[in-house]
Amino acid sequence: MLVLLYLASGVHRVAPNESALVLRFGKLQPQVHTPGLLFAWPPPVDEVIRVPVRSALEILLDDWGAPPEGSPAVTTMHPVRDGYTLTGDANVVHARLSVRYQIVDPVAAVFATQQREALSEAVLYQSLARVLARTSVDAALTTDRDLVRQETQRLAQQELDRLGLGLQLAAVEFRELLPARPVLPAFQEVVSAQVEARVLSQQAESYRAETLPGAQAEAYRVRQEAMADQHDRIARAKGEAQSFKVLLAESRQSPAVTRARLWAETWEVVAPKLQTTTVLPDTPGQLWLPAATGDRP
């Protein structure tokens, strides 16, 4: 009975996300066992090591995180208390990373080091420090943020491969990347200055967008009016010339009649406008005034 129980202790179940290695008398057996039941000899003959190869493993790197908001204001940064590193232009930055990785080589993962996580963490910090040390703070915080992330992953992977840890980095993400807490307001001020500058330009652009079409319309109107005036002026000149020709033709046929008629027409228009008409008689001293007409016997 006891013997049976003892033998049964050599049976293992390998979970779906795992691979299993077997050490027989301490010596690694070449076969890597896939998920399912695994029949091994009971200890101390066989030792079964299960490795989570298909799990997405995660490390959070918080050593360089910024102190939480509302922590007491400081004017200096302590090298141990305040986690930070330097950028290429000697600015102090905080960073937090989250790193996802997978074990791709179970044998290497087990037999390369006992401190898989701690060593991987150190390598990631090393890579990030290296990349930031050659990047300006502006680039790191804005345009090259993604590049910094990718470079960090690439460098770290290279280093992990060199150490033979059998790990594959799946993703390196920034959970935080900030300038030193004491100067954060100054950095935010720059951002708002940029926004203000953009707003000013936009306002000027919209002034332009409003003004130019108005000016164009005004210029168009001025030209059109001038052209209309030109048309009118020539039409009027032609009309007047034409009526002169008509009159001239008439007057050539009967000069006296035409002239008399024209004179009379003019007189009819002019005469009513006259306030008084004074007629001087031939003989001096005799003056006929319209007012006096009624008194005449």
Partner: protein, 300 residues
């Protein structure tokens, strides 16, 4: 009765066998090397994993060494660059036992080893940093930054000694971070703030300037547009006037005297206003009728 005795004997035999196996044999695990000592004197180094036999304690002893990579961070300390800048460059070390026998003889245990390697690496680090300038640690010019070279040089400096004296292989020296002594950070923060203020002022000024330029350009373009239109209008009207004059001239030249007559009549219409008083002599038609028929007759 006989059967019971047999069972007891078997049980005792099994226990004895297990005890014997435990004391007369040992395993070397895949990740280990073993140094076998007899009365404290090393007699065998076992690098191959498997099952081995030995004399029981206190004759022979098994000293196990994990030969996987070990990792630790060195103590934090200030260092001086070639251009006399104080920096804090924390490094970590990855190492493994390469020669278990020498390791056993010189250091014996991992904590011991870490302390020894720490001082070895720290002094190599200080020496190496003394050969590099500050801008080779941090610089925006990526070719200047020599962090990997510094790491390699530290490894080179300590590798031989670690191997020979301690039986230790230095796999990696990594610069984990770049920091400054606390006293220097106040200046750095002040400079950062000043730089930002400068940037903010510059952005504001540039924004204002760009906006002013756009406005000025817009106003100038508007002025030009309107002036051109005005000029066109005047030219057009002038041209029209000239054309009209030519048309009149062509027509009027047919009979200048008649034209003069018509113009005079028109002038008359225009000149006479509501307050005009006309003074005529009695002969002027049609007013000569006012003077009566006799007069008319006389005149005739």
């Amino acid at each position: 009765m006989k059967q019971r005795v047999l069972m007891r004997v078997t049980a005792v035999a099994v226990v004895v066998l297990i005890l014997a196996a435990a004391t007369f044999s040992y395993q070397v695990r895949q990740n280990e090397h073993v140094v076998l000592t007899r009365f404290g004197k090393p007699i065998r180094v076992l690098a191959e994993p498997g099952l081995y036999g030995k004399w029981p304690w206190p004759v022979e002893m098994v000293n196990r060494f994990d030969v996987r990579l070990d990792f630790f961070e060195t103590r934090l300390a200030e260092a001086l660059t070639r251009d006399k800048r104080n920096v804090i460059v924390p490094v970590f070390v990855t190492w493994r036992i390469a020669d278990p026998l020498r390791f056993l003889e010189s250091l014996g245990s991992v904590p011991n080893a870490r302390a020894k390697i720490d001082s070895l690496v720290t002094s190599a680090k200080n020496t190496t940093l003394g050969n590099y300038d500050y801008h080779q640690l941090v610089s925006t010019n990526r070719d200047d930054v020599k962090l990997d070279e510094i790491e390699e040089r530290i490894v080179t400096l300590v590798a031989a000694q670690a191997q020979e004296d301690f039986g230790v292989e230095i796999a990696q020296v990594g610069i984990k971070r770049l920091a400054l002594p606390e006293a220097n950070t106040e200046f750095v923060l002040t400079r950062m703030r000043a730089e930002r203020e400068q940037f903010a002022a510059k952005f504001r000024a540039e924004g204002r300037q760009a906006a002013d330029e756009i406005r000025a350009r817009t106003d100038a373009e508007r002025t030009v547009l309107l002036a051109e239109a005005q000029q066109f209008a005047e030219e057009t009207r002038g041209q029209a006037e000239a054309d009209a004059a030519r048309i009149y001239a062509t027509a009027h030249s047919q009979d200048p005297e008649f034209y003069r007559f018509l113009r005079e009549l028109e002038a008359l219409r225009n000149v006479v206003g509501d307050n005009t008083t006309l003074v005529l002599d009695g002969k002027t038609p049609p007013f000569h009728h006012l003077l009566g028929p006799e007069r008319e007759r006389d005149e005739r």
